[in-house]
Symmetry: C2
Subunit: 184 residues, 2 copies
């Protein structure tokens, strides 16, 4: 590794390691072809379902609760290599992810996804919590625009660049720029 000290780096899953929005909106386009006009606009919203007509929002949101949704998400380009590289450089990389309120498929499938794409080593480093402010680390790499909770965060929130978080003033990375931005 370089001469930086080892960091504890918390890395979110949806929108950072896995292409949640891509899969979700692809499925919307298949099921509701008459709504395709809304899809480009929906990419600009953290809660993309809010950009669709009100009568469809619940059903669109519920797509992500179905069996197989999380397990079949595609990795974001460069994400898996970056996670492995950070770990190989001596950083303590933890997959820190918030499950849906309805845990049935989401929770086991997130574990299965990490097992399949990153292996057992990273399964054992998973932190599944809906309140990331209670998790300690130096950095939290997350696409969510604002991360709130019951605790006083001890990490810096590094924004993972997505169309719906362009207004957030934090340090911002993607898997092509993270080394330079973070000085790693």
């Amino acid at each position: 590794m370089t001469n930086t000290k080892p960091l504890t780096i918390l890395i979110d899953m949806d929108g950072v390691l896995c292409d949640y929005t891509g899969a979700h909106l692809r499925e919307v386009a298949i099921r509701y072809p008459h709504l395709t006009q809304y899809i480009e606009d929906a990419r600009l919203s953290w809660r993309s379902e809010e950009r669709f007509p009100a009568e469809y929002r619940d059903d669109i949101e519920a797509i992500a609760l179905e069996e197989g949704f999380f397990e079949h998400l595609e990795p974001i380009e460069g994400a898996l290599d970056a996670v492995r590289a950070l770990a190989n450089d001596g950083h303590d990389v933890r997959i820190c992810t918030a499950p849906k309120k309805i845990h049935t498929y989401c929770v086991p499938e997130k574990y299965n996804w990490v097992k399949k794409h990153l292996g057992q080593e990273f399964v054992e480093k998973m932190i599944m919590t809906r309140d990331k402010t209670l998790t300690q680390g130096d950095l939290l790499i997350d696409d969510k625009p604002e991360i709130t909770g019951a605790g006083i965060p001890r990490w810096e929130h590094i924004v993972f660049d997505q169309p719906y978080n362009k207004d957030v003033p934090n340090r911002r990375i993607d898997w092509g720029t993270y080394r330079e931005v973070l000085g790693l």
Copy 2:
């Protein structure tokens, strides 16, 4: 609530909310009746399988990895009432539990257990992590004799009284004594 300030209280599951050892050793007695002579001694060990003859240890340990093991654990007497009472008193109660390395049944069944016995409110307060030193809180109520990890803990480890942790000098509670010991 009393005049104590609200605390963030992390509460472990196995050996604190659910009777892991009881279920495990009951199953050992059923499957290996010729080993019952070892069972009382096994209750004195954090890793109870270590008290059985070497050739049985792996199989005994693997009982807890089977489908249904975690989901069917019995609540420890007084545990569910205590969790609800602490939350009702204004404390921020989080179920903080470490899954087995083999996550397949353990992870979803721990969520199902909390849903069944404590309800959705506490499902949303679960923190599933193998390294509790990275979770922030004021107190961690845990039966594990020594809790180590990559972080500097910000909680006080309150030992939940069990036969295998009698030597630990920390403050010690069970669900009959916790209010007095913790001054709540």
